[in-house]
């Protein structure tokens, strides 16, 4: 199809209609569970987009990114649950969670400024674990986080009297809680994508790219390394914190075990698989890696029907396929499924 303005408009309209109709199609076609999965996929997209700013744009390998998600989630949970009997409005709590995460992004960034590559990865990994362990143990001497039991009965996201968790099937058949969350998360994901794209093609984005390519040359070109690295950490963490708050409201329950190292690794995998540096690739990676394990669950059911017992545990199978997929990816598409123009050509350049 040629790229005439009419065709472009047509394909945008088609995309918009697909995105709007998707939850209903999933709900009536595959079942309600799939709408929840897509909701989670959108949350992971936000996380992946945030981490992409740190890793994909500025080239700072952060293995503790999930900590910012946890911060956002706990800020929401503590201020919107029976834990302290607080019920603050969403439009205060979500930005507050994002801001807290952003602040911690700067706090983490400051001591790591001189570190690069592997060393930075180790320190950020430690930071992620510190936050998780803190959350796990902050039930003594004063009970703040309720320890490993986590915080439950968190208020759903609500605007005025409209709660996103309540079904509104009387308004529209099929307008269930997950469907409403879908639209909210979709809107926020699109907003974050838009912000990320604008950042990428700006003076700030060029400065990040320059730091990623060559720190010394970037400094010699007038870029204040400290400020721009901290800015990347803060921006990434802010998006992570926002996603965390949404997660807490969506799930109604948070506990430290949702924020382990494996989650950080998964988000990094989404970026690498999708295409580091490219906003669309990153979202694609998040969608695939969230939906794929869920689809595999059906293999367990299938085995049960077929052989009367589960021969290969779907969870093991998942790891097996995962490992294979990563190896194949590195061989065939080292820059990701949908690489950014820049990263793609970096790899192409290395080969030629």
């Amino acid at each position: 199809m040629t790229r005439t303005p009419k065709n472009v408009r047509l394909s945008y309209s088609a995309l918009a209609i697909t995105l709007l109709a998707l939850p209903f199609v999933l709900q009536f076609g595959l079942g309600r569970g799939w709408v929840r999965i897509i909701d989670l996929a959108l949350l992971y997209s936000m996380l992946a987009l945030g981490l992409n700013i740190v890793v994909g744009y500025a080239g700072l390998l952060d293995l503790g990114y999930i900590a910012f998600y946890a911060m956002g989630a706990y800020v929401y949970a503590l201020l919107n649950s029976p834990q302290f009997g607080l019920h603050w409005p969403v439009w205060v709590v979500l930005p507050l969670g994002a801001a807290c995460a952003g602040l911690f992004g700067v706090l983490l960034g400051t001591p790591t400024l001189r570190l690069r590559g592997d060393y930075l990865a180790i320190v950020t990994l430690g930071f992620g674990e510190i936050i998780r362990i803190f959350l796990n143990n902050l039930n003594e001497p004063i009970n703040i986080t309720n320890g490993p039991q986590g915080i439950s009965l968190i208020d759903p996201i609500h605007i005025g009297t409209f709660s996103f968790s309540h079904n509104h099937t009387q308004w529209l058949p099929g307008l269930t809680g997950p469907v409403q969350y879908y639209y909210l998360f979709l809107a926020i994901t699109l907003l974050i994508m838009w912000v990320a794209l604008r950042l990428q093609h700006s003076r700030v984005g060029r400065a990040w790219a320059a730091i990623r390519e060559d720190e010394l040359a970037a400094a010699a070109s007038g870029i204040a390394l400290r400020n721009y690295k901290l800015l990347a950490f803060a921006m990434g963490a802010t998006f992570g914190g926002l996603a965390g708050g949404l997660f807490a409201g969506f799930q109604g329950f948070v506990s430290p075990e949702s924020f382990n190292l494996m989650e950080s690794v998964m988000i990094l995998c989404m970026i690498v698989l999708g295409g580091m540096g490219n906003v669309f690739g990153v979202v694609l990676g998040a969608l695939i890696l969230t939906a794929f394990p869920e689809a595999l669950r059906m293999i367990g059911q299938w085995q049960l029907n077929q052989f009367g017992r589960v021969v290969v545990d779907p969870n093991n199978f998942r790891m097996l396929l995962f490992g294979m997929a990563l190896v194949v990816m590195m061989l065939l598409r080292p820059a990701g499924l949908w690489p950014s123009r820049r990263h793609h050509r970096e790899y192409a350049g290395e080969r030629s």
Binding site: S202, A217, I223, G349
Partner: protein
């Protein structure tokens, strides 16, 4: 002519290795100043001290009466000293145009809000940066490559692109570390012409490191000779050529 860069009793040691010992000279505004010496004489070390990549061990460097001690590289650039590197350091995954636009960083202002909102001021600055970058690429003669990745440029053009990126910060002093390294004689000639042109057009002061003595003799107004981290002499090319210790250092002969 006024004194632009003053290097006063500067020493640098790496652990027990004395790379530079009590080096003093000054560069006048508007001159083309050469820095020559055998391998390991401390030329690049001195460059790194001037541009803030390394801290000085002792002594003072002042630029335009402003002390450069403990300033990070980006602040020194802002004061007006831009540099290129001996082993080319371009942003290889970015296009030539983007490389030059990064060089403009210190002369532009758009921040995070401007980037997101893209208000009129930011858009204007962006348009201006792009036009200015094109102009600089034309000036160094590689405008046809503006959308080529830096990594894919021919070697000589990479050198030119590095110069364009340095010029983008509107420096008063341009420090070039072996700009002609690896070039054939005709490329060297055209590079020398470019350097003369830049010197004229921007009223630039140039500080150049080069091994090729012939190249330097034709280019520089004055030159400093370093040997084993010590300053041998500072003089005009003609006098330097006949300086006994220079002959000794280069030809190894007795004087």
């Amino acid at each position: 002519m006024t004194e632009l860069l003053k290097i006063n009793q500067v020493s640098k040691s790496f652990g027990g290795v004395q790379a530079l010992t009590n080096v003093s000279f000054s560069i006048q505004s508007g001159e083309i100043f050469g820095l020559i010496g055998p391998n390991g004489a401390g030329k690049t070390t001195l460059f790194n001290l001037i541009t803030g990549v390394l801290p000085v061990s002792a002594g003072h460097i002042t630029f335009n009466q402003c002390p450069l001690q403990n300033l990070p590289p980006h602040k020194i650039l802002r004061l007006g000293i831009a540099r290129t590197f001996q082993n080319i350091r371009l942003f290889s995954g970015m296009t030539a145009l983007e490389n030059v636009m990064v060089g403009m960083h210190s002369r532009t202002h758009a921040g995070i809000l401007g980037a997101i909102l893209r208000n009129a001021g930011t858009r204007r600055e962006e348009t201006h940066s792009k036009a200015q970058a094109h102009h600089l690429l034309t000036l160094v003669g590689i405008s046809r490559h503006s959308n080529t990745l830096a990594a894919n440029l021919p070697y000589g053009d990479q050198r030119r692109l590095e110069i364009a990126r340095a010029l983008a910060s509107q420096p008063r002093l341009l420090a070039l570390d072996e700009p002609a390294a690896g070039m054939n004689p005709s490329e060297r000639d055209s590079l020398r012409e470019l350097m003369h042109a830049l010197h004229q057009e921007f009223n630039l002061t140039l500080l150049v490191i080069e091994h090729d003595v012939q190249f330097m003799m034709q280019l520089c107004h004055r030159m400093a000779v370093l040997d084993f981290g010590e300053l041998v002499t500072v003089d005009t090319p003609d006098k330097v050529r006949h300086h006994p210790r220079v002959i000794q250092a280069w030809l190894g002969g007795d004087t």
